[in-house]
């Protein structure tokens, strides 16, 4: 296994988190602050005939109560969907309005009806109980697979509940290939709906300053500038230069904190209404379950055509994707450009066709959740491929090997739009097989059988498109934003370095990894570099953190800014060393005249830049450079996970006996952090495969799994220790060679685990989550 030689550096941020000195949004309190509590819909679908607030207004401590009518009167806009998907008939997706406070109807349990503001949170909560909403209940539609079958319409704009009908790939070529197939394997797959569950609930403090006409929003955001942009340009129509968004320490995101939600919008708006009283809202976990954007929720039919040797000839995929009641900011992109484009997997399948019908239902909005489209794609491809191997009675490793894109195929153009840049898929497979001792699996299976247990093994050879994203490409596909990143590298006069990044850390350890990169570049102690993020008042405009983009895109922006520092430093050094700029060489913080021992350190250069008494003509003082980096391609992390399970047929318990992950993230800066990302991703994938399911009652539309008592989060005793290995093929198109690691585990894990479970049970007749009960019902047949 290649060793990147990267140092395992402990994290800078840990001391504050470990001593209780982290500063999360709910830890902030502003002078004169009042508290907002939302009245939420108890119905999945209803017309609002009236809202009575008289009694609530008389309750102790109440400051104000606002409804959708108040927002309408103020001209508050709709929360936008920022990605226009053009469907197969050339039409833009249906985009019904999404008002921050409902105006005429509520469309899911948890939808926002009124904002009650009081002097204390308890008073606001008590008063919210007194708000009387006159609902006229309407029939609800919550089931993904049934939304298109004469189900009640969620929006008048989409009477059949179809948001768009989208396709990708050459249908004719696929159909032709299927007619020539030696064998066709078919599967029905459900990708279960998940609640993201960052442990820090969302929170916001909106604060308007009537003196300066400025707004400040403290918020649990993964991308403060993007939040500001959406708030200003689409929803509240505010001047962007008058709005500051602070996303301080944020306790996990996993996608759910990307979006501009109703709550922070309402807090900012209400503070203005209240002449500057800061308005604070903190979600309860119940609110998070009801109204944080959910993830996944697909129903898919997939088919693979093969020749007699198991070579893939063509694949077709038909998916219904549930978008919920309203379109969240990037909802439309997830089941299309982040899903259909990944259906080639690691294989040279020559023809692929994918059709996605996205539907509205009376459920919480669905958007990106760790992996976002790519876990759904990997699940389809890897479950199907494993089933192909079983159908053909071939070893699943061997079948994959026969179809892998080979190292000399790169750059590889897939039939579904992407160009893979680099990789070595067989290397990762070989490494994983070795680690799990694949050749002795049968012995282990026999041993389990002797003890009355069922053992299974499952593979997942995943690929993802990360490093989001080349702006021109995403623009041509309908994105409303560019997906570059910005960084500013400021040398202070005494030689320490402040780095300002548009990336946002909410657990990923940027303060450490980015500092390592900069310290290495300038040859300075790591403690002399500080990373500043999460405050639009301090950082250059940046796009934030999601899509495993921080190091590949944000880190590359930092490297570009470092390069500008070096270029300027060379001019200053040339003057100080009385040499030509062309003769100055730079290496790890030292500027040297080529072929001599004349040199200046970066610290001396920085000091000269700020005290420019003896300084080159035409060069500006200061050493402080900003760079914007727009990637030329996505990055393509890939790897192989193998899960081994042992099922107790008497109890239905699935024990994960072993887990091996071999990932190729390109160049790794901090292996300790990267391994941690892999562990966490796998845990979320295991949760999806075995435990988690956001369930709505099909009749009432109530969210059945609305708390930790009903929604099964993975606990420590549900999980094993993981064995993590790495291969390394550097990304060829960014300066760090980095591909991204944040989502891989969640992408790879569900397919590996379900392949193992279905191997043990000897049936594919089970959908995620493979709960203990479902397995208990199936296991006795397998044990016989």
């Amino acid at each position: 296994m290649p060793d990147s030689g990267s140092p395992r550096v402990l994290r800078k941020e840990d001391n504050r988190f470990l001593t209780g000195r982290g500063r999360y949004t709910d830890d902030f309190n502003r002078q004169g602050q009042v508290y907002g509590v939302f009245v939420r819909s108890e119905m999945a679908h209803a017309k609002i005939n009236g809202i009575k607030t008289d009694a609530a207004k008389q309750a102790p401590g109440v400051v104000a109560i606002y409804t959708g009518k108040d927002m309408e009167a103020d001209g508050v806009g709709s929360l936008p969907c920022g990605w226009t998907v053009t469907d197969k008939h050339g039409e833009a997706h249906k985009a019904p309005p999404h008002w921050p406070l409902a105006r005429d109807k509520v469309r899911y349990v948890g939808d926002h009806v009124a904002l009650v503001i009081a002097r204390t949170e308890a008073q606001a909560r008590d008063a919210a109980e007194l708000v009387e909403v006159d609902y006229e209940q309407l029939p609800a539609n919550v089931e993904t697979g049934k939304a298109l079958e004469n189900a009640p319409a969620v929006h008048d704009e989409a009477p059949d509940n179809l948001c768009f009908d989208w396709e990708l790939g050459n249908k004719q070529a696929v159909d032709d290939a299927f007619t020539k197939a030696h064998h066709v394997t078919k599967m029905e797959l459900r990708n279960n709906r998940l609640a993201p569950n960052a442990i820090e609930p969302r929170a916001a403090i909106g604060e308007y300053d009537p003196g300066t006409d400025e707004y400040t929003l403290y918020s649990t955001s993964q991308n403060p500038h993007l939040l500001r942009l959406i708030l200003c340009a689409f929803v509240l129509n505010l001047p962007e230069h008058k709005v500051r968004v602070v996303a301080p320490d944020v306790g996990g995101g996993f996608g759910s904190k990307i979006y501009c939600y109703a709550e922070e919008t309402a807090c900012v708006w209400a503070s203005k209404k209240l002449d500057g009283k800061p308005v604070k809202w903190t979600a309860t976990r119940s609110e998070a379950f009801a109204a944080d954007a959910h993830g996944r929720d697909h129903v898919t039919h997939a088919e693979m055509a093969m020749d007699q040797d198991g070579k893939f000839l063509a694949m077709k995929v038909d998916t219904v994707a549930n978008l919920g009641a309203y379109l969240s900011n990037f909802a439309t992109a997830i089941p299309t450009y982040l899903y259909g484009t990944l259906l080639a997997g690691q294989y040279k399948t020559p023809a692929i066709h994918c059709n996605v019908r996205a539907v509205f239902t009376n459920t919480a909005p669905v958007d990106a959740y760790r992996g976002a489209g790519r876990p759904e794609a990997t699940y389809v491809v890897e479950r199907l491929v494993e089933r192909c191997a079983r159908d053909l009675n071939l070893d699943p490793a061997e079948l994959r090997r026969r179809n892998f894109v080979q190292p000399d195929d790169f750059p590889y153009q897939t039939p579904v739009a992407l160009t893979y840049d680099s990789g070595n898929y067989e290397l990762a497979l070989d490494e994983a097989l070795k680690m799990i001792d694949y050749q002795n699996f049968d012995k282990r299976r026999q041993e389990s059988e002797r003890q009355g247990k069922l053992r299974g093994i499952g593979f997942s050879a995943y690929i993802e498109a990360c490093g989001l994203a080349p702006s021109q490409v995403v623009g041509s596909l309908g994105a409303g934003v560019g997906l570059w990143e910005a960084a500013q590298v400021r040398f202070n006069a005494t030689g320490s370095i402040s780095v300002f990044t548009g990336s946002h850390s909410h657990g990923q350890g940027h303060e450490t990894t980015f500092a390592q990169v900069v310290a290495e570049k300038f040859g300075v102690p790591y403690d002399n570099v500080d990373i500043v993020h999460g405050d639009t008042g301090r950082i250059p405009m940046g796009m934030g953190t999601y899509g495993s983009r921080s190091l590949a895109v944000g880190g590359s922006a930092i490297m570009s800014a470092c390069d500008k520092v070096v270029e300027k430093g060379k001019k200053i050094a040339a003057h100080m060393l009385e040499a030509s700029v062309d003769d100055i060489e730079f290496d790890r913080g030292t500027f040297k005249v080529a072929g001599t021992d004349k040199q200046k350190s970066i610290g001396e250069i920085a000091f000269a830049a700020y005290v420019p008494h003896d300084y080159p003509e035409g060069v500006e003082p200061g050493l402080d450079e900003t760079a914007f980096y727009d990637p030329s391609n996505f990055t393509y992390p890939a790897g192989v996970h193998i899960a081994e399970v042992e099922i107790d047929p008497d109890t239905g318990e699935t024990k994960i006996a072993d887990w091996v992950a071999v990932d190729d993230f390109g160049k790794v800066v901090n292996p300790m952090i990267v391994e941690g990302q892999v562990h966490g991703g796998i845990a979320q994938g295991v949760g999806q495969a075995l435990l988690e399911d956001a369930v709505y009652d099909p009749d009432s539309g109530q969210l059945v799994t609305g708390s930790y008592q009903d929604y099964t989060m993975p606990r420590a005793d549900d999980l094993p220790s993981f064995r993590v290995g790495m291969t390394e093929t550097p990304c060829p198109h960014n300066p760090l060679g980095a591909k991204g690691c944040g989502e891989a585990g969640a992408i790879a894990a569900p397919a590996a685990l379900m392949n193992a479970v279905t191997d043990a049970l000897a049936t594919d007749d089970i959908q995620m989550p493979a709960t203990r009960e479902k397995i208990w019902r199936l296991a006795p047949a397998a044990a016989e």
Binding site: T19, G20, G251
Partner: protein
């Protein structure tokens, strides 16, 4: 409004509270000890775990008034003279935290485990952590950190 008095991190404190005020609210709002977190409303995530008279307790389901006269230790009270408690140090050394939000509860809970069982095996650690949910780490490094801290604390 009733008054409650207790010792928090070695300091005698008192304050006027509603009868319904929770210990976690008293710590966060009255004492500004914001290291103790609230991550759920069903007493399951464990982000709020503190020690009350030496035993780990969920401060989100303990009334402030129940702690009259008690000795309470929060995450802020663990490090002594700037030196991390061995459990804190082990979490750092073994990367047992990512976003840091569940971390205070994890650390406080883990210290109580080691007090009761100075040499827990992996299975015992995982079972003990049933009441603490982490969404970031997959628990792998938390378990490792706790076992290393236990060794350190045994001396």
């Amino acid at each position: 409004m009733p008054t409650v008095s207790m010792t928090v991190n070695g300091q005698q404190v008192s304050g006027d509270v509603d009868a319904r005020t929770l210990l976690v609210q008293f710590l966060r709002e009255n004492l500004h000890l914001t290291g103790t977190h609230v991550g759920c409303d069903t007493s399951q995530c464990g982000a709020c775990v503190v020690h009350v008279d030496g035993t780990s307790m969920k401060a989100c389901t303990t009334l402030a008034l129940q702690c009259e006269g008690s000795e309470v230790t929060t995450i802020e009270g663990l490090a002594q003279n700037g030196e991390l408690h061995p459990m804190q140090a082990a979490f750092k050394e073994h990367h047992g935290l990512q976003c840091g939000f569940c971390t205070p509860g994890m650390v406080m809970s883990a210290i109580d485990l080691v007090k009761r069982n100075p040499d827990p095996d992996e299975h015992e650690v995982r079972e003990w952590l049933e009441g603490n949910i982490c969404r970031c780490t997959g628990y792998h490094n938390i378990v490792k950190a706790i076992q290393h801290a236990a060794k350190e604390m045994r001396g």
